[in-house]
């Protein structure tokens, strides 16, 4: 807009300049004689003189004719005057070099006679007339030739200048008309064009500024959004709880990695679009109904949080806690695996139960032990007394002996109860297994049923453990009895002794083994094994699968091992047998070994 106006102004200025120049050329320069070549001017002057000469000669002829018709003095004077005028012309103007001589000859020839016309006879007058006519004819020829040459010259002059000027005039005229039109248009539109241009520019600038601000705002918003989304995504990725988005139809819209892991999916894409009911072990009816939308609303309103059982992709189920929240038209579900917590809870309950049982049995055993001590003491006194009375037959002595045996068994039982309750005092000392085990093994072999053999690791490790040797012997014998009972006839019970350095956590009953160096004593049978439930409860006191079992065997062993800062591991598979491993902490190799008197547990 501004550029076009500028161009228009330039065009206008140029047009005015051109117009002025043209006018200057037309009216100023052309008027200047300098434009016309001297020769041309001379040619025109010559033509003028020739023309005048012709006319003035004609005047003489006319005057002469007049005198011939009426020869008066005034007519003669007129002839003289016209002759003088012709004379002045010829003498003033050198004339054409071809004819000037003739003109002057005429003048000099007739000058004497003109002054005395009356002396001339008619013949002389006719001669004068003839000469005059010749002069006139010569002048006419001269005029004609000069006119022609001047015309030629003029033509060539115009060809050289005037035609070019004509072209220039036409061009200038065109420019003048065009510039006039332009001027009018400009003057008419200039003001409105300026106003329009300014208003348009203003609008454009405003719009540009607004657009810039908008773009900046959008960029900032997008950046903020991206940052926010990234932050949320990181939080979602970092949290241990499963977070899953649900649309209004209860279908998954997104799920974080923890949620995917919990539900057993590798990729989020596999879960997207899946209905909520898929992940529930026992979906309620309202979530199976065709109107999932209503079901989700129902769930959000009446059970926004709680416990449920979820189903993994592979079908495995696990307890979980969940929280549901509104998220736009749909919902967001936050859930976590609850099985560990439940397990811990169960273990806590178990420990509590065991503790209670321990207290109870410990207390009872203690009192009972006191009672048995009294009974045993009295029975031994009675036995001594009966030995002295020889009159009694064997029947009384047998009664006392049975009573003593029963009291011994009772004492033994109370000892075991105390051991289980971890209240029995232990007397741990370094025990070298290479020396200790060979003494125990014969006892163990004897306790096995007939047809069941015991095999022992051939090379026993030269290690020393710090335990109560009596209790270790009891434990081994206990395990041997269990293994022997589990074995079928012709079977084998193995005793495997190894050493190991526990760096990672080894699973033992009731927890994990502390890091350290251990001796592992395993007693394994090839019996029918235990089912998981039995295995889980094997160490519980009073749990037994045997018709006459006390349920205290394995639990006592467990109590002893734990009290000795070791652990007990059960490895059992249905149909493949059971292996019980005792982990006993090693002491420094330099520790002194003591001979421990063996004992037999009945």
């Amino acid at each position: 807009m501004r550029a076009s106006l500028q161009a228009m102004c330039w065009a206008l200025a140029l047009a005015v300049l051109g117009l002025m120049g043209g006018l200057f050329f037309l009216f100023a320069d052309l008027a200047d004689q300098g434009m016309i070549p001297r020769t041309h001017y001379d040619g025109m002057v010559d033509l003028w003189h020739a023309n005048r000469l012709e006319v003035e000669a004609l005047e003489v002829l006319v005057a002469l004719d007049s005198y011939r018709l009426n020869p008066t003095a005034s007519a003669a004077a007129e002839v003289g005057l016209r002759f003088d005028i012709l004379w002045s012309r010829i003498m003033l103007w050198p004339g054409h070099r071809e004819t000037n001589h003739d003109f002057k000859a005429f003048l000099s020839a007739w000058d004497p006679h003109i002054q005395q016309l009356d002396t001339l006879g008619p013949g002389k007058l006719i001669n004068l007339t003839e000469d005059l006519r010749r002069l006139i004819a010569a002048a006419t020829g001269l005029t004609s030739r000069m006119s022609q040459s001047l015309q030629n010259y003029t033509w060539s002059f115009e060809a050289r200048y005037a035609q070019r000027l004509d072209l220039g005039i036409w061009a200038l005229g065109g420019i003048a008309v065009g510039s006039g039109v332009l001027t009018v248009l400009s003057l008419v539109n200039l003001r409105s064009l300026w106003a329009l241009s300014r208003s348009l520019e203003g609008q454009v600038q405003q719009r540009t500024a607004a657009l810039r601000a908008e773009i900046a705002e959008r960029t900032r918003t997008q950046r903020d959004l991206a940052a926010e989304e990234n932050r949320l995504r990181m939080i979602l990725n970092a949290t241990g709880e499963g977070v899953c988005g649900l649309d209004e139809g209860g279908r998954c819209t997104f799920c974080n990695p923890a949620g995917l892991a919990l539900l057993g999916y590798n990729r989020e894409a596999d879960l997207l679009g899946q209905p909520l009911a898929m992940a529930l072990a026992a979906p309620p009816r309202f979530l199976q109904a065709p109107d999932l939308r209503r079901g989700l609303r129902h769930l959000l309103r009446w059970a926004p949080q709680g416990n449920t059982t979820l189903r993994r992709r592979d079908g495995q189920v696990f307890p979980a806690t969940y929280t549901l929240g509104y998220l736009g038209q749909g919902a967001v579900a936050v859930f976590a695996d609850d099985s560990e917590r439940q397990q811990r809870e169960a273990e806590r309950l178990q420990a509590q139960k065991l503790e209670t049982l321990g207290h109870l049995s410990g207390g009872v055993a203690h009192d009972f032990n006191n009672l048995l001590t009294v009974i045993l003491g009295n029975l031994q006194l009675l036995q001594e007394a009966l030995k002295a009375r020889s009159y009694l037959d064997g029947g009384e002595r047998a009664l006392v002996n049975e009573a003593l045996a029963a009291a011994d068994a009772g004492a033994n039982l109370t000892q075991r109860l105390l051991t289980f309750a971890r209240k029995r005092p232990l007397y741990p000392r370094p025990v070298a297994l290479q020396a200790f085990l060979p003494r125990v093994l014969p006892l163990a072999k004897r306790l096995l049923p007939k047809g069941v053999t015991l095999t022992v690791t051939e090379t026993l490790p030269a290690v020393t453990v710090r335990v109560d040797p009596q209790q270790l012997e009891n434990a081994l014998l206990n395990l041997a009895i269990n293994a022997g009972q589990a074995s079928v006839a012709g079977g084998t019970v193995e005793l495997i002794v190894q050493t190991l350095v526990n760096r990672s956590a080894i699973e033992v009953v009731g927890g994990t083994l502390a890091p350290g160096r251990y001796a592992a004593l395993s007693v394994a049978d090839r019996g029918e094994g235990m089912d998981p439930e039995t295995q889980r409860r094997a160490c519980e006191p009073f749990f037994t699968t045997k018709s006459q079992g006390t349920g205290l065997g394995l639990s006592t062993v467990h109590g002893f091992v734990v009290q000795s800062k070791g652990g007990l591991a059960l490895d059992s598979h249905r149909g493949r047998g059971t292996r019980v491993t005792l982990y006993l902490p090693l002491v420094a190799v330099a520790a002194t070994e003591e001979q421990i008197p063996g004992g037999v547990i009945p």
Partner: protein, 196 residues
């Protein structure tokens, strides 16, 4: 278009046609008759004339007519050689386009002659014996010492030498004056001036 009054006039004369010789004859007779008649009746008419201009006693060289206040003949002011020579004589030495070398012209100022006749107009129509006619603005006479030359290099001008009166501009004194325009106004063989 080419800026020469002389040329234009020449072309007009050339294109006047066949009736012109008769016209020239008639006008020549009329004028010379009138002039002779006036010359003959001059003293008598002058005695009766009450104007301030004395009558011409010799042959009339110049007649002024038109818008004039002073006359010495019916409607016109006539000047003979004596009357013209009685006016202040001015010498103009100049080249002319028609002659070789500088020439010393002498004669009364044209404006003095017009003042004698009491001319009131702004333009003059100068008529020559050879029927050449030129228009002269009075302003020219005021601006320049334009004379009606009576002599050329001391010799009286005759008809044969562009006389008896030749309007001469002081071209040499004013170089810008030498143009076709003033050349056309330099009427020789002047015999009549009409004031308009």
């Amino acid at each position: 278009m080419l800026g020469s009054d002389g040329i234009q006039t020449a072309r007009r004369c050339r294109s006047s046609g066949l009736g012109r010789p008769i016209l020239i004859l008639w006008r020549g007779l009329l004028l010379w008759g009138l002039a002779l008649g006036l010359w003959g009746a001059g003293p008598g008419a002058a005695a009766e004339d009450t104007s301030s201009l004395p009558p011409a006693t010799g042959p009339v060289l110049l007649t002024v007519k038109g818008a004039i206040d002073h006359t010495n003949a019916p409607g016109v002011a006539q000047f003979d050689r004596a009357m013209l020579e009685a006016l202040p004589q001015v010498t103009v030495t100049t080249h002319t386009p028609w002659t070789e070398g500088p020439i010393r012209f002498e004669g009364p100022l044209l404006r003095d002659i017009l003042a004698q006749a009491g001319a009131r107009g702004q333009r003059l129509q100068a008529l020559a014996l050879n029927r050449y006619r030129a228009e002269i603005p009075v302003a020219d006479l005021q601006d320049y010492s334009v004379i009606a030359a009576l002599t050329r290099d001391g010799q009286p001008l005759t008809v044969r030498t562009q006389g008896p009166l030749w309007i001469v501009y002081p071209w040499d004194d004013h170089p810008g004056l030498d143009s076709g325009v003033t050349r056309g106004r330099a009427v020789w063989q002047l015999y009549e001036i009409t004031v308009q």
